[in-house]
């Protein structure tokens, strides 16, 4: 089943390009470590999901590009066309010449309604091209004005018009020391609105990805392109085809639906984060070998100790022993920074994947008390290797990973709000103080729900 991607704003469009590029490059690679027929099936499945066919055989990404400035979209379109391997649809983009001035209210209340019809038309055309349609993948940042404001508006519209289709928002969490002074306002408004209209919020933190580039990839001058490529690698390892069950031999039809059903059925717990191992530069990859046991051990500890990447994991953090009562468990968690999970999905790709032992993830101590590991944990195993990694594992987790960052952003936004700083820029365009208060309330509730696991 096909997924339609909506790329919003500068961030969304740049990342979207890298994602499609990574997906296609991996599907066309010959390092899959599997037979030719398997490779063809993998390729066909990936193509059906993310690309449509053109007469001369060049796949066209199933995407709609939206930005209020023309520069980034034009760059994106030409980069795709230049690659020669794929391209965007000719009429798949919508842009203006105006920009949003990093103002969420402007994006949400002005640009959104003004261009609603054009944008929804583009999306509708893309959906109609799909033989079987699974849902939307909306890529946006939280801190700016276009991606965040228009993103929230478009997601709401999709909720109304395509209420049975799935919606996953890929959200870029801004740098803690970001440049946009009102980024915290933009962030809380975005998150509170998306929590109502989206099914799943897949979050990537700029800080975390930046560290991966610096420490794991050894990149000296880190550009946005490097960051986006790391992100695309993580997303690719989630969304590339996987087998549908242990004993089946065909690829899963609806990964988006299965993922959401496993991880985000509860309306209060929609925040997902991604961790993957291993991750390194191509040069180092040639000289490294891995075992499943080692990879999974690292991944599990990353989950438990709330580590953002494979380096610098705190091995002292342990799951609480089962003898403690629930109250004791909570205080212990707080002391040792133990990350309690609601649900986890581990996707394994590569050689000897059937021998990989994931029992460590089925420990009830990792999970909240009201969900058993048999319901909370799922694993998808696929033999076909991903992107030149002989073995790779990715964890999509609904856990307390994002509580601290969220709490921090809400706190900072609240401090600004308490002194009414920059509020007039929002009230000018129809976002009143009450809307801010509503956002604060709903996000405080999200934080409280996650803390009470």
């Amino acid at each position: 089943m096909s997924i339609v991607t909506v790329q919003l704003g500068q961030c969304g469009n740049q990342i979207g390009f890298e994602v499609f590029d990574a997906l296609l490059r991996d599907s066309q690679s010959s390092h899959g470590l599997c037979c030719k027929r398997e490779n063809e099936a993998y390729q066909a499945s990936c193509k059906e999901r993310f690309f449509s066919e053109e007469e001369n055989g060049v796949p066209i990404a199933r995407a709609v590009l939206v930005d209020m400035e023309p520069k980034v979209i034009n760059q994106t379109l030409s980069k795709a066309a230049q690659s020669g391997r794929w391209k965007y649809g000719q009429h798949a983009c919508f842009c203006q010449k105006q920009g949003s001035g990093n103002n969420w209210a402007y994006g949400y209340s002005v640009h959104g309604p003004r261009h609603e019809e054009s944008i929804m038309n583009l999306i509708r055309k893309e959906v109609e091209k799909c033989d079987s349609f699974s849902g939307f993948f909306i890529i946006m940042s939280m801190a700016g004005g276009t991606g965040s404001g228009i993103g929230a508006f478009v997601t709401q519209n999709l909720q109304d018009q395509y209420s049975n289709s799935l919606k996953m928002n890929q959200i870029i969490w801004p740098y803690g020391t970001g440049e946009v002074i009102v980024q915290n306002y933009n962030s809380i408004l975005t998150l509170s609105h998306l929590y109502r209209s989206s099914d799943a919020l897949l979050v990537h933190e700029n800080d975390a990805v930046h560290k991966i580039c610096a420490k794991l990839m050894n990149i000296k001058q880190i550009s946005f392109s490097d960051i986006n490529q790391v992100l695309a690698h993580q997303l690719g390892s989630v969304f590339q085809p996987t087998y549908s069950a242990e004993s089946s031999f065909h690829y899963r039809r609806n990964p988006l639906g299965d993922l959401m059903e496993h991880l985000v059925p509860h309306p209060e717990f929609k925040m997902l984060s991604v961790r993957n191992v291993p991750h390194m530069s191509e040069n180092s990859l040639a000289y490294s070998t891995f075992t499943w046991a080692g990879l999974l051990k690292h991944l599990r500890q990353m989950l438990i100790s709330n580590a953002k990447m494979e380096e610098g994991i705190d091995w002292h953090v342990r799951p609480p022993s089962s003898g403690l009562p629930s109250l004791g468990k909570k205080s212990l968690n707080k002391d040792l920074h133990f990350n309690t999970s609601i649900a986890n999905l581990v996707i394994l790709r590569g050689k000897d994947v059937q021998s990989a032992d994931v029992e460590g993830f089925k420990d009830p101590a990792l999970y909240t008390s009201w969900l058993e590991p048999v319901n909370a944990f799922n694993v998808w195993k696929t033999q076909r290797a991903f992107s030149k990694y002989e073995k790779s594992a990715v964890l999509v987790s609904n856990s307390q990973f994002l509580v601290k960052p969220l709490d921090m952003i809400v706190g900072k936004a609240w401090n600004m709000f308490a002194s009414k700083a920059y509020i007039h820029q929002y009230t000018k365009f129809g976002i009143e103080e009450e809307d801010f208060l509503d956002s604060f309330t709903s996000l405080e509730q999200v934080v409280a729900s996650y803390c009470n696991l």
Partner: protein, 472 residues
């Protein structure tokens, strides 16, 4: 403080209903997919088994079950949409199922049309009724777990609706494209099964060679084999186009009688027949399950009464644990005794009932006088009569043109002509929509009752603050 104590019955009900909705229910999409690739985009490997026995009928019953289970939980709100699409429904007929398939195969042992089952609409739904709320003694269940299960149910529901829409689009395309290809003029177009059998007769053989078609996943990897590169690149629509170009192809080939020398015809048809028979069996089993579901409530109520009458005898049995229960020889004397006992019991009961009735009547008579009383009585009588009348009218509407129940074949007609036993899809949709409105009203009423009950409970506990869950 959030009220987290919820009966486990609710959780189980939802989990059960959620399981009854298939998770990977996947009618495949249109024929633009390439069929010689062994991947999940090729629709036809699964289409043959799926198209036959489990179409909208079963889903309707599952939907009804799901909707009946939901009122037990206050905050649920299902978003049901009827099985058939509104657009383009004008030209659809449901043809009672005993036609052309018989003419197509020498030994027709299964349906070949696009089957839809028309249920005794009111029977299936009326027998469910609202589940009686009762306290479970297993211990409290965290409400978050229940909300989790509800969420999973919602996701499955949405996927079901999407799959349903996909299937309808597919059916529409096939019926359109194969118009004029069928030997039976009154049908006019091929069904999905017929089209697939034409396109790939060997595929039918391969699929049936997998054994039982019950596990549809098993059929799939076998299907991989018949899509090997050696067969050459083909697309569904190419083949179909070829078939349509030679309109004589269909009747001549299929109507040919079997002869032992015609080895190829035999070898193609026999596995197909086996497959069809297996599918038919599965269909019958599923229908049996559904019939059971409809009568389950009655059965358990009966069991309750049986156990109730058996209970008093338990102590006597317990006092002689080593003896198996045995039927005493019934001498006449004993029988007479029993009869006499029963008669005395009956008398006592009658007297007790009479006493009660007299007492009640006296009481009622005491307060039953006066103009207000008769006015209220008249008013309530009128409301009851009105409601009864409305119900009756609705029943009559529903059972309007004599609707045959059971399997029907979906046929697309441009001219709108219909046989005696044919049903128009538009009418069926209308009926389903009115039932939907009925059920929604019932749901809202039950939700209101639940809310009132909760408010009462909350009011009774001082210091309890209600925090409603976030709106969707």
């Amino acid at each position: 403080m959030r009220g987290r104590r919820v009966g486990a019955a609710g959780a189980r009900a939802i989990a059960g209903v959620s399981r009854s909705l298939p998770s990977d229910h996947s009618p495949r999409s249109s024929g633009r997919a390439k069929f010689d690739r062994p991947d999940d985009s090729a629709p036809w490997q699964l289409l043959l088994p799926r198209a036959l026995p489990i179409p909208a009928g079963k889903r309707l019953a599952s939907i009804a079950l799901g909707k009946a289970a939901l009122p037990a939980l206050c905050f649920a709100r299902a978003n049901p949409r009827a099985a058939l699409p509104a657009a383009g429904s004008v030209g659809w007929l449901l043809r009672a199922e005993d036609l052309c398939p018989r003419q197509m195969l020498p030994d027709p042992s299964g349906p070949l049309g696009d089957e839809m089952t028309v249920w005794g609409q009111c029977d299936a739904l009326a027998s469910l009724g609202p589940p009686a709320p009762h306290m479970e003694t297993e211990g409290p269940v965290d409400v978050r777990h229940v909300q989790w299960l509800m969420g999973k149910l919602r996701f499955r529901w949405r996927q079901l609706v999407s799959s349903q829409q996909e299937q309808c689009a597919l059916l529409s395309k096939i019926h359109l494209y194969t118009h004029g290809c069928h030997s039976d003029q009154s049908l006019g177009h091929l069904s999905v099964t017929e089209a697939e059998m034409l396109r790939d007769p060997e595929g039918g053989q391969q699929v049936s060679g997998a054994g039982a078609a019950q596990n549809l996943d098993l059929a799939y990897p076998k299907g991989l084999h018949f899509c090997t590169p050696g067969m050459g690149p083909r697309t569904f629509w190419n083949d179909l186009w070829l078939v349509c170009e030679q309109p004589g192809l269909l009747p001549g080939d299929w109507a040919a009688p079997l002869d032992p020398g015609g080895a190829s015809a035999c070898s193609l048809l026999f596995p197909l027949r086996v497959l069809l028979r297996t599918l038919e069996q599965e269909n019958r089993r599923l229908e049996a399950v559904l019939a059971w579901r409809r009568t389950e409530l009655v059965f358990w109520q009966w069991m309750d009464t049986v156990l109730g009458t058996c209970a008093p005898e338990a102590p006597a049995a317990a006092s002689q644990p080593t003896f198996l229960p045995w039927v005493p020889e019934c001498g006449d004397g004993e029988l007479e005794l029993v009869v006499r006992e029963l008669q005395t019991l009956e008398e006592e009961l009658r007297e007790a009932a009479e006493r009660r009735r007299v007492a009640w009547e006296a009481k009622a008579r005491g307060c039953g006088r006066g103009p207000e009383w008769s006015a209220t009585r008249r008013a309530s009588q009128e409301t009851v009569e009105k409601e009864l009348g409305a119900l009756q009218r609705r029943w009559e509407q529903d059972s309007g043109p004599a609707q045959a129940h059971g399997p029907h074949r979906l046929v697309r007609r441009e001219d709108g002509a219909a046989g005696d036993r044919d049903l128009r899809a538009a009418e069926l949709i209308r009926t389903l929509r009115s039932q939907e409105a009925c059920l929604e009203a019932m749901l809202r009423q039950l939700q209101g009752q639940c809310r009132q009950e909760l408010a009462r409970v909350a009011g009774a506990l001082p210091g309890l603050i209600w925090i409603p869950p976030p709106g969707r």
